[in-house]
């Protein structure tokens, strides 16, 4: 049976656990809300990870980690653009620019970080391609999955708790009477705060700020806990009451019916 399914039913952490226990080799392809991720494994160990078309070439990663200067990086892109990462790694070690350890640590950190990003994906589908092996031109790492699984479980618990606290993102937010003075908010929180208005649903605020469900819930939860906002039904959105509410459409008859109910309950 093909290993494929939906992230709603099977989380990334559960998938990592399965791959770890089964010692699988192949690539987990995850189609998330905006990107596609490829996470490759060798005998149940993380070998390589990439999200979308991001540049994760060795030179770029080392430059980002300040292991290569801007000039060195530019020169490498110009002159060694066609080199594979394996060839480039060897060249850099032999030239004394970086150590083997520098390369491994940065690649491992990049792969772990990529997997961590996937924990925030709660919508999407996945499939495990046993025939799709880690790319040969890249330097593959061999990272045990246990620590990532433990981290993922923590994320999962957080996600479940946040979902309990804020079950629907179709609701809006309004400020409470507490002033926003003397409150230390970070940039992301301010971005959310700037959109708070009973007319905007949390889903719309998340969309405007390019945040996923977990990120918006995390920020709203903090604001709720601090007593700065309340969850309200969005203003200006006409919600048609279910026609099944009352057996009649006539407003006066509806009121009369409720009065009858009041009379009956009183007489119990």
């Amino acid at each position: 049976m093909a290993l494929r399914g939906n992230l709603r039913d099977f989380t990334i952490t559960q998938l990592l656990n399965l791959i770890n226990l089964a010692g699988k080799t192949g690539t987990l392809v995850v189609d998330g809300p905006t990107d596609q991720a490829h996470v490759a494994f060798l005998n149940g160990k993380l070998a390589f990870a990439r999200v979308g078309n991001e540049d994760n070439r060795l030179a770029t990663l080392l430059h980002r980690a300040n292991k290569l200067t801007a000039n060195q990086y530019r020169a490498l892109v110009e002159r060694a653009g066609a080199m594979t990462d394996k060839e480039l790694g060897l060249l850099l070690i032999n030239a004394g620019y970086v150590s083997q350890e520098d390369i491994l640590i940065n690649l491992q950190e990049h792969c772990s970080e990529t997997v961590r990003r996937l924990y925030t994906w709660v919508e999407g589908s996945f499939r495990f391609e046993a025939d799709l092996l880690p790319p040969e031109d890249r330097i593959n790492v061999r990272l045990d999955l246990e620590n990532l699984i433990i981290e993922g479980s923590r994320h999962l618990r957080e996600w479940e708790q946040l979902q309990d606290e804020i079950p629907s993102l179709d609701m809006a937010l309004k400020f409470t009477d507490r002033p926003l003075q003397n409150v230390n908010l970070n940039v992301e929180e301010w971005r959310v705060v700037s959109y708070i208005n009973p007319k905007n649903t949390m889903k719309q605020i998340a969309g405007a700020n390019k945040m996923n469900d977990l990120e918006i819930r995390r920020i709203v939860y903090g604001l709720l806990q601090a007593g700065l906002v309340d969850i309200v039904r969005p203003e200006g959105v006409t919600v048609t009451p279910s026609p099944k509410m009352f057996p009649t459409r006539d407003k006066e008859e509806q009121k009369s019916l409720v009065n009858k109910l009041i009379g009956r309950i009183r007489s119990l």
């Binding site: 079950p167 629907s168 969850i231 279910s242 009121k255 019916l257 009956r264 309950i265």
Partner: protein, 179 residues
Amino acid sequence: MQTVKMVVTGPFSAGKTQFIQSVSEIDVVATERKISSNEERSVKDATTVAMDFGRITVDEDLVLYLFGTPGQKRFDFMWEILSEGMLGFIVMVDSTRPETFREARSILETFRAYAPTPYVVVANKQDMKDAWELEDMRHALRLDPKVKFLSCVSTKRDSVKTILLELLYSILEEMETGG
């Protein structure tokens, strides 16, 4: 025959089945099953798995149905089905079990999102010696001061009547303000 319905919801063991039982003219049609989880069995032996169903006949043309939802989150697929077409809903909270307050808040938010119908929140088991005070519960549940938060003892018919009346007053008020 015209029918209307109200929904009684809340966490596991909040007293929903008892609430309906106290005012229903028929024996509550309960879908209870024995509890298998040790943790939950320490609270009670059986729990609602689909719904409770009670009835109050108003006159020969009008009947009020009371539906109780299952408390556990794993049965939440029933919540939306039961909430369809409700006049209003009651969220019951066990005043003696603060560990369920967070879940009660979550259930309240879930039902608020289903439909723009009036609701009241009820602090049940207020006759118990370890019941939390209403004001403390209001803060813990993060209820807006405008939300009706009422004390209740669901084994007492008068207490249940008061809750139902308060919800009906809210429904009437909403109809009048909403035109």
